[in-house]
Subunit: 350 residues, 2 copies
């Protein structure tokens, strides 16, 4: 591992294996199906490890990810959690559906439903779907339980679509539980069975059992963990498998070090944290600024300080975007590179 030139995105295999097991066991204990989100790693071999641990299937965020993971034969049961719109994408979706036991989609509006229904009918098939519900996040999703039922009914009437349930991201208490409670009541009263209720998010994993409506959970980040997950209290630094190996290339002042990685490795994702990464060897150091290829580290709070040429390991703010910046990830165990994975679905934006 110490021979790797920097910057290099490494993952500790023992931690990855433990993270996969811990999350799967927790969900299994509560009777919640585990449908890991592969957008975090975009690596088929890791998807296979998640399936081998007992996952029900996988979640993809873009059609291109479904293509890569289907080609690699990772799972027969895939959920695509993104509105699929337009003829080009509908055709790709149907081609994939023919190769999988189940390829389900989500949508939150009738325009998407019409397009998919039409394509499915033309292909003489049915696409299973979940209705995406906005239970407090303010992104996609129907806004009320009533709207969820209305969209489900409209879509069922179109033909070519098979209603399977409801989906939300992320689980947020108390909004998610209240929304789902009310929705299931409405669907029950309308005589529409809801076999699947799919929640999501890594910080929400260990409280998923508190939302009794959930039948499955989708999480991605947990496989590696990162600064944001640590900040949420769901993991510790010891649970962080992804470490970006960087070299200190300059110490322009006593209190400033420059790393050989910037936004083109770490991205500038901040979300809930300040600074751009956690130096494991120098926990008091703060990555205060990133340029495209430079990381600017404030050492003023540090007792020990790194020298020029020293390699440090940085836990990134958000592992799901770092995966997408590099062509390969190094799987490391006991200080040795055990495997080099191409990030097969990197850059699959469509």
């Amino acid at each position: 591992m110490t021979d790797l030139d920097t910057p290099a995105v490494t993952v500790r295999l023992d931690i990855v294996e433990r993270n996969i097991r811990r999350v799967h066991d927790h969900l299994a204990r509560h009777g919640i199906a585990n449908r890991p989100h592969v957008k975090t790693h975009k690596i088929p071999a890791l998807g296979r490890m998640q399936m081998a641990a007992g996952a029900q299937g996988i979640t993809c965020q873009k059609l291109g990810e479904v293509e890569v993971f289907t080609e690699a034969g990772v799972a027969d049961d895939v959920l695509l959690t993104f509105n699929v719109l337009g003829r080009a994408k509908s055709e790709r979706l149907l081609a994939l559906a023919r190769r999988l036991a189940r390829l389900a989609v989500v949508f939150d509006n009738e325009v998407v439903a019409r397009g998919l229904g039409e394509a499915a009918r033309a292909a003489g098939t049915e696409i299973p779907f979940l209705v995406e519900c906005d239970t407090g996040f303010g992104r996609n999703g129907v806004q009320t339980p009533e709207a969820a039922l209305e969209l489900a009914r409209t879509a069922m009437r179109l033909g070519g679509l098979r209603f399977e349930g409801l989906m939300t991201f992320p689980n947020r208490e108390p909004g998610t539980r209240q929304f789902l409670e009310r929705a299931l009541e409405l669907f029950k009263r309308a005589g529409v069975p809801v076999p699947v209720v799919s929640g999501g998010g890594t910080p929400a994993i260990f409280a998923a059992q508190n939302i009794p409506q959930l039948t499955e959970h989708r999480a991605g980040t947990y496989i590696y963990n990162d600064r944001m997950v640590v900040a949420s209290g769901t993991a510790t630094w010891d649970d962080c498998a992804m470490r970006v190996r960087c070299t200190v290339v300059s110490t322009p002042t006593r209190d400033r070090a420059i790393l050989d990685a910037g936004t083109k490795v770490f991205t500038s994702d901040l979300y809930t944290v300040t600074g751009y990464g956690h130096l494991l060897e120098y926990p008091e150091a703060a990555v205060v600024n990133l340029s495209e290829e430079h990381g600017v580290v404030d050492l003023s709070a540090c007792r020990a300080r790194p020298a020029i040429g020293e390699v440090v390991e940085v836990v990134p703010n958000h592992c799901c975007v770092v995966s997408n910046m590099v062509d390969e990830v190094y799987g490391v165990r006991d200080g040795k590179v055990e495997t080099v994975w191409p990030v097969a679905a990197r850059g699959e934006v469509r």
Copy 2:
């Protein structure tokens, strides 16, 4: 162009050509050599257009970029503006130096100088270098003109290194001029000629002539321009060549639209601006939030509102990082895709 599936990163070729010409003419008029930074586009064909317009050579930020652009035969004169450290990179550098008329580097510390000097001596050659000066940005660079002279002298004594001048990024008034004035005085008194003084940055281009010490200027962003350049007053929306074509995939509320691109296309770079992009068709819209694959748009200030399925063109905050997120960029003229460029140096982090 309207057949392109989304998200798609397009560049208007007429604007690219005008931007290249305008910047080159400005620098030429003031006798400042133009050394465009290819990290912005990472596309050899665009580097060739910049060279054809009269550029002296190109600037690269990572060794991997030098490799890609050298392989493509774009320029014979390359400046690598990053501290090169370690045996693996030194060997790559020297292999490249043999293929180019001039491959100059910058550094700001003796550790880097020693490594490069040793490698060059072992290869029986000399590497031209500039001393990187921190003239106010607070990133890399020696902190004083005195330190610049001291490092230049130390490096010259090592052997294998040929002093060519000083480098800074970005030009910042009045700090840059004061630093360079004092440095040139010191070097003159010491009898050390300084043939090159290299400044940089796109917002600084049209004031580069106000720093009389500069002999060349490095800028990257200007070829496309973006929201940050518009915010700096250096360009207008009409000068923005890069537009990310996105589809509206949802309108969960009257005031909210969701685009099919998030941080995995736009990144979360903010710098000086608020929000994550400018919708050309809906200038009052605000991209208030990005997830990895979703763009959340606040339409509350809009008179007209986009419908689901509509394609919009978004000028990103920072074009240099968007280039690096995609495998190809579409060159568009008169509404037609004239060329599809692979982003050849995408992901060259080392």
